[in-house]
Each structure stands twice: as C-alpha cells, then as structure tokens.
Symmetry: C2
Subunit: 267 residues, 2 copies
C-alpha cells in the first residue's frame, strides 16, 4: 500500500528507536576503510573509543588524552571489550607527539566544548592529517534543549552548567558552531548534520537512557558547584531538576541536538 | 569504499539540500492510497493544498477553512496549478458540516498553533474519521529556534511573535506538544517525528528560502503589532532582526524544528 505510515513501518521505527542508544546515533555513519590510521583526539575515559574501533575493525586507532588517569581508564575499557586495534597514549592536542601528515583521519568527540581555542586545536589536528584526510567532529549544544512541559526553573538549572563551562574556558553551546569552526580552521568540503534526540513516551528507552540518565543526571551533577559559585539558589535548582524529570512522564517531551561535522584537508 | 563520507555522497547530499524546500521537508512521507477521501482541515490560502493533492493524485481531498477569503484564495491557487482532486469549502472545524466517519484520513498543518482548544479540535476531527483512519498533524515550534552568532535581541524579537500569538489564544511553541495532544484526543499508535531545518552557508537555498524569506520575514511581519502592544522598543526589535539576518552570513548557522505526528482512530 502506498500510504507510508502503515502499522508495520511504525512498529519497525519504534523497535529501532528503542534499540537505538546515544552511541548508535553518534556513530552509525562513521566507518573507516581497512588499513587506515585514525587519531582519536581527546578520548577521555574511552566513552566512544570501543564503539569507534568496533565500527572499523580493519582500521587502526591511536587514542590520546591529556589526562593520564583518563588514558588508564580508557585502556581498561578497551581491554575489557577485547578490542585490539586501539593504541592508547597520553598526549596533548596542543603539543602533538606525531609527525605532520601521519594520519589518514581524525575523530574528535565532545572535546572542543572544553577548549578556549577550538579553532587552534582543529588547525593543529589538520596538520596531523595526510592530504585528503578527514576530520570528524561531534559536539552537543545545551542551548538546543527544550521540552514539555516548559519550565523557566529547568532552563535556569541548565544555564548553570553553561555558565560553569564558560567560566572554565569552554562553550556548552558549541554544537551549532561546528560548521564555522571547521571552515575557519581551513578544512574543505565541510558538511554538518544535526543529530536530534527527540524523546516522548512512545520511546521509553530514550526517556530512561537519555532524558533521565544522560541529560538530567549531567545537570544534577553541577548542583554543588553551581550553588558554591552563587549561580542559583538551591531551591530554584532543585525545582529545575524536578521539572526536567517531569518531562519524562506520559505527556512529556524532551529535545536535544548534537552536531556532527566532517571536513577534508586539501589534497 | 567503506567510508561513508565520500565526496560523491557529500555532493549528492548538497544537491538534495538545495533542491529541498520547506514543502518537501513537510510532505515527503505523506501519500494517501488511491480512492481515499482526505479532509484537509484549516487549509488557509492553500499553502499546502497543491503539494498535498499532487503527492496523492488518486486520492480526493476536501479542504476547508473558516475564512471565506482564504478559501477563495486557495481555490485560485488550486485552479492555477491545474489540480482537480481538491474540493474547497468554507467550514469551521468546531462545526463540521460532515457526517461522522466520513473520511479515510485527516491532514492538519499549521492550524493547532492558532487554536485555544487544540485537543477539542483534534477530538472533533477524529469523529470525522472512519475507524482505522489517520490524522496527520504538522506544527512548527518557535521555541526550537537557535542560531550562531547568538543574540539576546533576536530572541526578544522572536518572543514578540510568541507573545502576540498567545494573546490571540494560540501557542507558537506547540510543535513539541504534538505527541501529547494527539494522545489526549484519543488517537492511538501515535508517532511523532521532528523535522529539523539546519541551515549553514553550504546550503544557500535554505539560507535564502528559509532563514531569510520564511523565518526572519515572518518575525519582521509582527514589528508594528509588537511595538503597538508595548512588547518591545523599536530599536531593540530592529537590532534583533538585524541579528537574525547576521546568521545568514558565511559563518552563520540557523536551526528550527517542525514536528509531524500521525495518530490512528481505533478500529
């Protein structure tokens, strides 16, 4: 039948939504060819590393982070997963221990948001690329957050995280800037796609896995710092968190958008 | 090659983006089977009617609007396009001149945002459906708007439109509520998809066709009413509009999201 909203297709979409985790959303169009050497810059504790390496089993990855503890945690995670195509090293993006033109591709996820000089970082990473190689950047954007029922207190609580990130030199609203950042760093053929997370009660895996345990838990995590910094009253913050949880009820809706961009180093 | 961000695919995506109009985005998964009878409720001046009917050439449409002038304009538009499967009638959603269970499907686009009783409207429209028929709802959400460079003045100008709509009994942030509205009206198997419009300089057709001529032009259109209502100073409003146009420059980005939901009347 020509009508595309048939029951079967809807049921399939639902199953897909529920199986789909945040990691799937971020990674499902990233796969590197056999034999390519990929730099994962700023791997942190390896939250993306295993998925990244498993999606490209015949590529080799060098995953770096500036923090030794994070590198150790990422190494444990990679070993526990039985992944063998990742080499972990402690290294600073701003003092890369590699020769120029060493890598076929670079992957950078949830890193630029922490940096006061994101264009400089991308320019350095571009220098590590072979001509024709790509940089892939994934960033969230807290300013993309909206929900039902709406709540000024919830927006105030989210703003605490944004203000703390800014005070630390970063930018929690960087997702929307991925296109201009890649262009300014001199990448070519830049293409950016939004990856929107839309959550309503028909998608219970996202209600629990994203709204509750990813986003709201992250905002809850800045409570003490936000209060200590005088950014908000405890009562107002707690009202905001309560209102974020309110969006996980049967009539609630929650929206957030990540941005994924790819640019090419000129051949 | 396994790497999915090849040049060819990127080039194809770009051509697609540029050919893609707002109408394509809204309609490209709506097609009704041959012989079905579809009610377009609140057709206005027929902005969606021709596309809707052309996508389902073997379905028949009854398109209604409460305003006689709008119906006349829609009729001229349908006739100019040579579309013959649409009947236009002046009628009020809240006093439908049809027998219960008359229609196979109902289509409602940019209508609920204007109504103070959207659930009641959907409940009435559900009554016009045969058992097993669908209602499709499309609404925008002005609260989904964000951009780079960010601008508090631009958000203030947008808020004028939202406040004027609210004063008129409507809700410009209704898009995110499509899921709970359809559920509350008693529709079943409700499924909602966000339709996000992401605009950067690599998508010039959207820069011009959406950011400039659709969204910013719409906000500009409330200037006199907003100033007359005392919602904003002229200077602040004009700064906001200037900042919205600023997002159309080479390093600018603009984001907006429509929501499209489908629900089924129980068999």
């Amino acid at each position: 039948m020509a009508y595309v909203h048939g029951y079967d297709e809807r049921a399939n979409e639902r199953l897909h939504d529920q199986a789909r985790t945040l990691v799937d959303l971020l990674h499902d169009d990233t796969a590197y060819p056999a034999g390519s050497l990929v730099l994962e810059a700023g791997c942190g504790v390896g939250a993306q590393t295993v998925t990244l390496a498993q999606h490209s089993p015949q590529a080799r990855f060098v995953s770096i982070d500036v923090e030794a503890d994070s590198v150790a945690a990422a190494r444990r995670r990679v070993e526990a997963a039985g992944v063998t195509n990742v080499e972990l090293r402690q290294a600073d993006i701003f003092a890369l221990p590699f020769e120029a033109h060493s890598f076929d591709h670079v992957f950078v996820c949830f890193v630029l948001e922490h940096l006061s000089q994101p264009v400089e970082a991308l320019t350095i990473l571009k220098g590590a690329l072979k001509p024709g190689g790509t940089i892939t950047v994934i960033e969230g954007d807290h300013g993309s957050t909206y929900f039902h029922p709406d709540s000024a207190a919830a927006h105030d609580a989210i703003r605490c995280q944004i203000d703390l990130q800014r005070a630390a030199g970063g930018d929690s609203n960087i997702g929307r800037q991925v296109y201009p950042l890649l262009v300014e760093a001199g990448l070519e053929a830049v293409h950016v796609r939004p990856l929107m997370v839309y959550v309503d009660a028909s998608r219970p895996a996202l209600v629990d896995g994203f709204t509750r345990k990813t986003f709201t838990a992250m905002i809850e995590g800045v409570r003490e710092d936000a209060i200590a910094a005088g950014l908000i009253d405890p009562e107002r913050f707690d009202t905001g968190i309560r209102d974020l949880y309110r969006t996980t009820e049967a009539d609630g809706v929650f929206c957030y958008t990540f941005f994924k961009g790819v640019g090419v180093r000129a051949a």
